[in-house]
Amino acid sequence: MSGLALLGFGPDGWGRLLLSGCLLTLQVSLCSMAIGTVLGGLLAWARIRGPRPVRALTAAYGIVLRGVPELLVIFLLYFGLPSLIASLWSAMGWPPPGLLPAFVTGGLAIGLVSAAYQAEVFRGGVAAIPVGQFEAARALGLTDLLCLRRILIPQMLRITLPALGNVWQFNLKDSALVSVIGLAELMRVSLVGAGSTRQPFLFLSAAIVLYLVLTSISDLAFRTLDRRFSQDAKEAS
């Protein structure tokens, strides 16, 4: 069978599977990015405002998660999390849960790593905002929450956007590592296709093109957003 037919959408084509792999890659990346943003935000907040031991802990989190290979983090969660949950469940007297789906473990693993990087991004973003603004907010009697919503977040979005774009690209590429625990995302699908048709060059080339499409689209999206944000900022000032 010719290569194009193999990659196409015909009855023997892998097109549909490859596209669903792309979709799953996007889903894992989006979930891990969201986990990373929430946890990273909390970590940055703890790192800036927390008491000394909490600050040391968050610093240690950053050092460990940014110093251990992502592959090991995925393996650790994949094998470690179920036994942790099982012992927790048995301590509560509940019946043992089944295996966690690869999507959950993989997304969480990439998300935990992403959080370590995003925490650094947010910390840098806060540092880039003049202290006088916070003093002014306090002088006006703004509560912490209001200060966060009206002053910190709008400016942080604009300042950290390029760096967050970088983190997103890393997330997207790290999601390929989740294939090692069997999630049928783009990398896995193309490997399975390569194996069962004995055409690794063809299928891995297809995967390269699809990943390039994904990263190019994200790059374009972040650039457009960045341009719009900086334009808004210029008009406002």
């Binding site: 251990v68 592959l71 393996f75 650790l76 790290d174 995967a207 390269i208 990943y211």
Partner: protein, 236 residues
């Protein structure tokens, strides 16, 4: 279990045995990637549109795809091409360590090349003009003015890329290389003590990265001898 020390000591010893493989991959790829990145940076500063397009394409390809995919492509995919499979380079492409080093070199050269390119743009134009005005040749200018400034500016980001590279060496285990991660998986298949073994491996990677980043920071500190910035002359 009671055999705490009885398990950890031999496991760590076995994992330590794999450190040379990981370090070999790391050092070879780091050196070659840095050299290639310098070439790419020269391409980006070149007047020839062909060279600039080559650099842009290289960067686009290797930064836009996952490293694990590049490793699989080089190890499994290229073997399908007749001129590789039956060519003179086949003994090299059959070797998983060579393939890992090749993939890491290509991938990291793209990232490090971007670091160098950014640093090159940050070298003060006045310094280069001053060098030219002193009658320096192009080589002298590069060696005495551009390279020292560029290294100083690029070093912090370069260190980040090296740490990334060190972590990426673990992907070698996916194509049967017995590096730290590969050996860890081997021990697990015999002992089934997944968590303990992976934690030991993680600790080893942390140690390697700590040493790497301490060394690079020491180098950066030595380079950035903060010479007192010339104070503005007090107006009389």
């Amino acid at each position: 279990m009671a055999d705490g020390s009885g398990f950890y000591a031999p496991t760590l010893a076995q994992l330590f045995g794999a450190v040379p493989v990981t370090l070999l991959i790391l050092l070879v790829s780091m050196t070659l990637a840095t050299l290639l990145a310098a070439v790419l940076t020269a391409c980006s500063a070149s007047a020839s549109p062909g060279l600039r397009a080559f650099r842009a394409g290289w960067t686009f390809l290797f930064r836009g795809t996952p490293l694990i995919l590049q490793i699989f492509m080089i190890y499994y995919g290229l073997a399908m091409l007749p001129w590789i499979r039956w060519g003179p380079a086949w003994p090299a492409f059959r070797d998983p360590i060579f393939c890992t080093c090749l993939a890491l070199t290509c991938c990291c050269s793209a990232y490090i090349g971007e670091v160098f390119r950014g640093a090159l743009a940050a070298v003060p134009a006045g310094e280069i003009e001053a060098g030219k005005a002193c009658g320096m040749s192009r080589l002298q200018l590069l060696r005495r003015v551009i390279a020292p400034a560029l290294i100083r500016i690029a070093l912090p980001s370069y260190s980040n890329e090296v740490i990334m590279l060190a972590k990426s060496t673990s992907l070698a285990s996916t194509i049967t290389v017995l590096d730290i991660t590969g050996v860890a998986q081997g021990i697990i298949s015999k002992t089934y003590r997944t968590l303990d073994v992976f934690l030991c491996a993680a600790a080893l990677y942390l140690l390697i990265n700590a040493i790497l980043s301490a060394g690079l920071r020491a180098w950066a500190d030595r380079l950035s001898i903060d010479r007192p910035t010339p104070k503005a002359v007090e107006p009389l």
